[in-house]
Assembly symmetry: C2
Homo-oligomer: 198 residues x 2
Amino acid sequence: MTVHTTRAKRTTPAERILKVADKLFYQDGIRAVGVDRLIAESGVAKASFYRAFASKDDLVAAWLDQRDQQWRIWLQTSVDQLAPRAQDKPLAVFDALDARFRQSTFRGCAFINTITELARLDHPGAHAARRHKESVRALLASLLKDAGYKDFEALALIFLQLIDGAIVAAVREGKPDAALRARQLAELVLAARSKKTQ
Amino acid sequence: MTVHTTRAKRTTPAERILKVADKLFYQDGIRAVGVDRLIAESGVAKASFYRAFASKDDLVAAWLDQRDQQWRIWLQTSVDQLAPRAQDKPLAVFDALDARFRQSTFRGCAFINTITELARLDHPGAHAARRHKESVRALLASLLKDAGYKDFEALALIFLQLIDGAIVAAVREGKPDAALRARQLAELVLAARSKKTQ
DNA sequence: ATAGGAACAGACAGGTCTGTCTCTTTTATC
DNA sequence: GATAAAAGAGACAGACCTGTCTGTTCCTAT
């Protein structure tokens, strides 16, 4: 090996495409963004695009799977930062949301948006979106369990629904207030439930 | 006037188009339904379509305005039927939602779907959607005020957010359970608030 | 009865969409 | 340095999109 590829490998076409797709799909919606635009903005040849992804639908699924992972990492680290103690983590979810709602790029939940935009339930993107929500539900259940709540499974479903409502309301209103309202609702729920398992 | 148009007037092209648009836009999404399909399924000539509506965007706005009216009438009559007494009406909203979620045609809130599909905030459809949500908020505030709740304005915002969350969750899950969860949350909120103004 | 407008039917234009294909240039491996 | 795969550039096909325009038929009002 004469050269070893010592030089840091440049980003692959797939990586660049995914990065651009994340921005454009989230910002403008899936159907509003054509393959030609994805190619132009990522500086990739059309043949490279279709070598990396079998179709646009494939890219949509890959995008959502990547975003799912990033989103859960974001939530976990945000919650850990905002609430060091396990018992405080569940409610910190809504503080994390509050911060996210204030970002100028915020345009709702990419997964909800995908489900509503792609009405067909069998679209690969719709499947990815449902997988994401199930993952988040499991993450919430884990937080609630560690915080000592007995019926953490039922609570996780409620929390997920509060999150969905907060996101939609924040988009509608163009304000982050919905996060605080959801947090107060969550506080009520937790206060009403039998608090600890032991 | 010899003939007086005694005979019941047949439906106008605009009415037929709106009826088909209501079905197709809601079922498949706005961008997924082309003008040609609307024309074919409503049995209308293309010239008639563009005589009735200046553009497809115009039709979208007209559709949403019509649906807004129908939706509020539906909610009001459902609530009146489910809860004759003013103090019971606010929570009956969620029983009405429950019934709606069970319909096989249910595919979420047309207005939320429109906002998320048409990312552009200045689209006439987006404006119609925001007008609708504001109307519903006012309707909820009225129900809550008549039920005797002092801070009915704040409560209406919370109820609207609970409704949004329930709708999204119901679509996600493909089950109507979210309506009951939202109702229980609403019960908690009402119980926690200072109940009456007098 | 007849004139005028509304509705139907469909061709057409100009653009955009996804996906395929060719050709050239770069990059990596031996 | 030679060879092969990867990537860039872009033409092309076929379908679909919105919106316009030209005829023909029907209904209605005088």
